[in-house]
C-alpha cells in the first residue's frame, strides 16, 4: 500500500470544510472539501490510507485512498510505493 506524507514545501491545517493547503514556493492555496476524512496531523506524520482510515468502515478506506491519490497528483503529498 502506498505511503503518503505532506510535501516538505507544503503546509496544511484543518478547517470546518476539510483541509486548507498552502504551497510555500508559490504562496498559493488549495481548499479541499474533505470533511473529517483526513486530519492535517496525519499528513504531517505520514502513513498509508489504511492507517489514516483505521477507525473507519472498509468502504471509506477506498474514498480516503482516492483522495490521497488526488492530493499526491497535485504534489501536495509525496508518495512512496
Amino acid at each position: 500500500m502506498p505511503y503518503y506524507k505532506l510535501h516538505e514545501n507544503v503546509k496544511v491545517r484543518d478547517e470546518s470544510f476539510g483541509l486548507l493547503f498552502y504551497i510555500c514556493p508559490t504562496t498559493s492555496l488549495v481548499f479541499v472539501a474533505s470533511g473529517n476524512m483526513l486530519k492535517s496531523a496525519d499528513l504531517y506524520r505520514g502513513g498509508t490510507a489504511a492507517e489514516f482510515a483505521a477507525d473507519m468502515e472498509s468502504k471509506q478506506i477506498k474514498t480516503v485512498e482516492s483522495l490521497l491519490a488526488k492530493l499526491a497528483q497535485r504534489r501536495l503529498l509525496y508518495v512512496e510505493k
Binding site: K11, S16, F17, Y22, C24, T27, L29, V32, K70, R74
Partner: protein
C-alpha cells in the same frame, strides 16, 4: 479541488496577516496608504512583543506574514524578526522601497527560502516613477533589484500601484520586470491615507479601467493584489479567489498592535482590538467588526451579471467614497462599462 465558495466559511485563522511593522519611512510617496495614519500611531511593538506575536500566529497556523510599513528595513531588529519567522518556516513577504537593499543585504535575504520581496516601483522610467514616489526613488529601486538579482534572490517582484499617472506604462513595467527575471504585481489605488488627497488626480478613469483590463488579459502572468476581480475581465477569474479577503482570509496589524480587518480599513470604526491586550485568535474569532464583514451583503449588486465572480468588489473603496460598506465598489469595471455606454449613446 479549489472551490471559490469554500473561503466564505469562516476560517479558523487568517491565511496571511498584513503587518505594518514600523511607522518609520524615508520616502514621501504621494499615494501612500499609511502616511497620514502612521502619524497617529502610538509606540511600536518592541522585539519581544514581536516575537510573542509571531508565536501567536504560529499557534493559529497562519501561513504567511506580509510585512510592510513604513519602510520595514528601517527597523533595527528587522533581521532578527525575519530570522525568528524563517527558523519556524513562516513565510514572509516584505514590501520595500529598496533603499536599504545593498549587496550585503541582498545576499543575506537570498539565504532564506521563506522570504518573498516586493520592490515598489511606480513607473518604468525615472520621470514617471519619481513624480509619484519622489526624487531619486527610481535609481534606488533599480539598484536594489540589481543587487537582488546578482545574489540570486528567487522570489522577487516589482509592485506598482496603478494610477492615472502610470497606467499607460504597465506594459513597459512588465518588460522591465521580465528583464530582471522578476514578476510584476499590481495594486489598486485607494482613497486611503495620502490617497485621499490624490484621489481625483490619480484615480483611473472609466476608459483607463477598461484599458487596464485589456492589458491584464493580455498578460495573465501579471500578479494582482486584492480586489482586482472587480476590475478585470472574466478570462482572469480562474487566477485567484474572487472575493474580498478582509476578515475571511486576511487581517492587518498596525505598528502599535491594533488589529483591523484589512490594511485599507484602518479607521476607528474598524478597530477590532489590540494584540498587546487580547489574544490574536480571540480577536479573530470574536470581534464584532469581523463578524459583520463576514456576513456583509452588497445587495445593490445582486442583479449584476458579474455578481458571482465579484460579490460587490472592494468594500474599502465603497467605504472611503460613500462611508457605506454595503454599496458596490464605485470603481468596478461594470460601472466603467455602463458609464462608457452612456457616453456613447
Amino acid at each position: 479541488m479549489l472551490k471559490n465558495e469554500l473561503p466564505h466559511l469562516a476560517l479558523s485563522a487568517p491565511v496571511n496577516v498584513t503587518w505594518e511593522i514600523t511607522r518609520l519611512c524615508n520616502a514621501k510617496c504621494l499615494h501612500c496608504l499609511s502616511s497620514t495614519r502612521m502619524a497617529e500611531c502610538q509606540e511600536e511593538l518592541d522585539f519581544s512583543e514581536c516575537r510573542a506575536f509571531i508565536d501567536q500566529l504560529l499557534a493559529a497556523q497562519v501561513f504567511q506574514i506580509n510585512i510592510g510599513g513604513g519602510e520595514p528595513f528601517l527597523r533595527s531588529d528587522i533581521w532578527d524578526i525575519f530570522a525568528y519567522c524563517h527558523q519556524r518556516q513562516l513565510v514572509t513577504c516584505s514590501s520595500t522601497n529598496g533603499s536599504l537593499i545593498d549587496k550585503e543585504a541582498a545576499q543575506r535575504l537570498a539565504k532564506s527560502p521563506y522570504h518573498f520581496l516586493q520592490i515598489s516601483l511606480d513607473g518604468p522610467t525615472e520621470k514617471v516613477n519619481d513624480n509619484i514616489r519622489g526624487k531619486g526613488s527610481f535609481a534606488i529601486a533599480i539598484s536594489a533589484l540589481e543587487n537582488l538579482i546578482k545574489a540570486n534572490f528567487p522570489h522577487l517582484s516589482i509592485n506598482t500601484v496603478v494610477t492615472a499617472a502610470n497606467y499607460k506604462h504597465i506594459a513597459e513595467l512588465y518588460q522591465l520586470a521580465s528583464f530582471y527575471g522578476a514578476k510584476l504585481r499590481l495594486s489598486r489605488f485607494r482613497p486611503s491615507g495620502g490617497g485621499v488627497k490624490m484621489w481625483e488626480a490619480y484615480r483611473l478613469s472609466q476608459e483607463q479601467t477598461i484599458g487596464l483590463a485589456e492589458v491584464l488579459s493580455a498578460h495573465t502572468d501579471i500578479l494582482t493584489g486584492d480586489s482586482f476581480f472587480a476590475i478585470t475581465k472574466e478570462d482572469r477569474q480562474h487566477l485567484g479567489l474572487n472575493m474580498c479577503g478582509a476578515a475571511k482570509l486576511t487581517c492587518a496589524i498596525s505598528p502599535d498592535g491594533n488589529f483591523y480587518p484589512c490594511a485599507f480599513l484602518q479607521q476607528p470604526p474598524f478597530l477590532c482590538g489590540n494584540i498587546r491586550r487580547e489574544s490574536f485568535q480571540k480577536i479573530w474569532r470574536q470581534a464584532p467588526v469581523l463578524q459583520m464583514l463576514r456576513s456583509l451583503q452588497v445587495n445593490a449588486c445582486e442583479n449584476c451579471h458579474r455578481f458571482d465572480i465579484c460579490h460587490g468588489g472592494c468594500p474599502a473603496i465603497a467605504w472611503h467614497i460613500h462611508q457605506d460598506l454595503t454599496l458596490p465598489d464605485p470603481t468596478c469595471i461594470e460601472s466603467a462599462i455602463k458609464n462608457k455606454t452612456h457616453f456613447l449613446v
